[in-house]
Structure formats: structure tokens, C-alpha cells
Symmetry: C2
């Protein structure tokens, strides 16, 4: 009997936004695989679950996933993953083969920009019969809307979620969609403010950073956002 792999979305930051199912599975498994963006950094996902579940006595397998800076990363099938990824895949696979159930924890929701899906195909290549269950979580997009107290869409309204490279088509997208969620705005913040100003949409924008965390920032006049507030978790929601 091989072990079962649970991929758990642990929510955007507040440990209480973990689901009941996520918390239960984390309590039950023996080993937790924790992705990290930097080799030396600490894991936000790990700190989230520590705030909700006592994980003492469990094996914590920290895994460093170097992210590539390519313009269009495809599914893992199509790219050569770094050797660090291969190490992680083998470490996960060997434990499952020993019959150990594992949780792979990921910030927010697994379907929304989680690195897990790069591993998914590779694991199934090793054994197409592997039992993998994905447990959805609260995404940072939904949490940001909740904290800013805005609806992303009502009735027949359309939502666009743009993670990057959006400046070229921004006007077109804002014309066709009722709500546009712009992720990772730290990269292009000044250009974005200028573009929204040109379109007379500044008053429709709200800036949310680190929703639900201790250092959360919500700024309704996005021209007031300071450079030092911009970070990887900053987004702007434009609601027409």
C-alpha cells in the first residue's frame, strides 16, 4: 500500500482561514512537505499551520523550489525542472512508497498559482496510480476582497485575474471586464497608477497587501501607497 498525498491550500495567512478538512488531515499525517521560495528563508505556509495545529512529532520536509524567471512557464511536462525539484519529487515519492501519508502545504489555494502543479505530473509519471487529493483553500484574492469589503462580482459580472505583464492590454481588459484583479503590482506600480489615472479609474481601485496578516495594508486611494509598502503579496483590485 502506497501512502496518500494530500495537497492542502492553507489560506492566505491567518491560521484560522485553514479549512476544517485541512486542519484534520495535517493532524493525521506523519510527514508534512513545506515548499520554500528561498533556500535560506522560512516558510509562510509552515507558520500558518503552526498557528492552527500542533505539529510537534511530525516529520517536516522543507523543500526549496527555485522559481524560474521565464516569461511563459508551461506545465512541468514541458520544462526541465531544476535538480532541486527532482530531489523533492524523489523524497516525496520514497515516503509514499513506504506507505506514509503526506501533506504538501501551499499558501492560498492550490489551483491559484501554486508551485505544486509542477510536481504533480512528475509524480504521476513515476506512478500513475498514486492517490493524490487536492484540498482547496481560501485564496489571497478572496481574502483581499473580504478585507477590503468589496464584492469581486455580482450577478452577470465578469472577473479577470492577471498575474503579470498586464500593462499592454490593461485598457482592453478593463473595458471588457467588471472587475480586474492585478497581482504582484510591486513590479509596475507607478505605471499602473498612471494608466488608471488616464482611464479615470483611480477611484475604482483598492490596494491590498498581506490580507488578514498582522501587517495587512488596505489603501483606497492608491496614489497614497508608499514604495516601501509594495511587496510580493500586494494586489490591486479594480471594480468598475
Amino acid at each position: 500500500m502506497t501512502g496518500r498525498l494530500y495537497v492542502i491550500g492553507v489560506g492566505p495567512g491567518d491560521p484560522e482561514l485553514l479549512t476544517l478538512r485541512g486542519a484534520r488531515i495535517i493532524k493525521e499525517v506523519k510527514c508534512i512537505c513545506v515548499p520554500k521560495g528561498k533556500e535560506e528563508g522560512s516558510s509562510l505556509a509552515l507558520s500558518i499551520i503552526k498557528g492552527a495545529v500542533n505539529i510537534s512529532g511530525k516529520e517536516i520536509m522543507e523543500a526549496y523550489f527555485p522559481m524560474r524567471k521565464t516569461k511563459s512557464v508551461q506545465r512541468s511536462k514541458d520544462i526541465e525542472l531544476d535538480s532541486k525539484w527532482q530531489e523533492t519529487i524523489e523524497a516525496v515519492y520514497s515516503r509514499l512508497n513506504k506507505g506514509i501519508d503526506m501533506a504538501f502545504i501551499t499558501i492560498g489555494d492550490p489551483a491559484i498559482y501554486s508551485t505544486f502543479f509542477y510536481l504533480y505530473d512528475k509524480l504521476l509519471e513515476l506512478n500513475p496510480e498514486l492517490e493524490i487529493e487536492i484540498i482547496p483553500g481560501v485564496s489571497s484574492i478572496n481574502a483581499s476582497a473580504a478585507r477590503a469589503k468589496i464584492s469581486l462580482a455580482l450577478a452577470d459580472e465578469k472577473i479577470a485575474i492577471l498575474p503579470a505583464n498586464y500593462m499592454d492590454n490593461l485598457k482592453d481588459t478593463l473595458e471588457k471586464f467588471d472587475t480586474v484583479v492585478l497581482m504582484k503590482v510591486y513590479r509596475v506600480f507607478d505605471d499602473l497608477v498612471r494608466a488608471l489615472n488616464d482611464m479615470h479609474l483611480l477611484k475604482n481601485a483598492v490596494y491590498v497587501s498581506r490580507a488578514g496578516m498582522g501587517d495587512e495594508r488596505i489603501v483606497r486611494n492608491i496614489q497614497d501607497v508608499k514604495r516601501e509598502d509594495l511587496n510580493y503579496f500586494s494586489m490591486v483590485i479594480v471594480r468598475k
Copy 2:
């Protein structure tokens, strides 16, 4: 002291997908307001929380929210709400005024097509100082992706969420976005299958109905979907 209103996203159907925070608040409040789509129907949101929390002894205030069939419903400011809505607003407001903390429960995530936001402005008109906290939840979109074991987006990929009236611009949207989530497909299913076939995208589509519920259906060849399987909770995710 007025009571506090908690708007809680209870997730897509599986009671275990309620958040820890949602479950805790439901345990603590004295009164739960439960929206219903039909005056005589039962509430899915209520059955979800009953599966996770013992709510005996609490006041359950069922509220019927007739949904209008207009093409573009605006924020509640701009529309005349049915008198049934006004009754609910007054019932909620009078309890808060007595200092009673309340939970307003809503399926999925409150920011994604929840009727709550029609009430929100009306409540703040009555008292701009009302304390309203929105607790995000797992949306049916994230849950459907999890059950179908697909990523909605990786790296720089763009997501479009279209609730209705999408047939006219479908080709354009599918060209510009990496993932297109089509909600409420029961309305136009045959047209949709034909359009995706014309665009050679049938193999990229997956049909998900009632994700995580007992009668969940996942169909990877959407031409096999039977008319009787189509319902309000059916969606198609197209992943290029």
C-alpha cells in the same frame, strides 16, 4: 453597543471546507441569518454548517432573497430591492441594535457572486458605524479545480471568470486568457460544446458539477455530459 455582523463564506458544499474561523464564529453567535433562493426551498448554506457545527439553541433567521432576472444588476444603491429584502434588512438591523452578534452565511466565498453585497450598502446606510466583518471562504471555482485536479493558473497565466452571456465574446476571451471559467453552463451547454469544438478546445475543457458534494460529477469529455446532469452548480473550466 450594537452587535457585530459576520458574513461567512461556508464553502462550496462539503462541511469540512468551512474555515476554522467560520466554524468558531458560528459557534459563538446567537443568531444565524440564512439566505434562500426560493421561498419554500431549503438552504444549502444551512445544511453545510449543520454538518460542521452544532447549532441547536441558536436563532435561525431564514431569509428569502428573490433574485431579479435583469441583465445588469447594479450595486444595491442603484436598484429598488424587493420588499422581501427590506424585511430582511430590518430584521438583521433590529437584532444588531439589540447588541446581538449575528452570522450571515453564504455558499462559497462572499466576494464571488454572493447576494450579501446587495444588503451591505443598505445596512451601512442605516448605520455607517455598523461593524461588519467578512470572512472569506473556499469558492466553488477553487473547489472544482481541486476536484478535477487541474491548476487554474501557473506563473504568468491569466484567468477569466465568466458567469453568463459569454457566448458572443468566447473566442476572443479564449484567445487572450490561459484559463476561462464558465459558470452556469446549463443555460447554453449545447452552444458551448459546439463553439469549443469549432475552436478545437474540447479536449481542454472539463465539466464539474457540485464539486465535493455527494452527487459531484466530473466529466473530461464534455460531449458526454447528459442534459439531466446540468444544474445551477455546473461549470466548465477551459485550460489552454
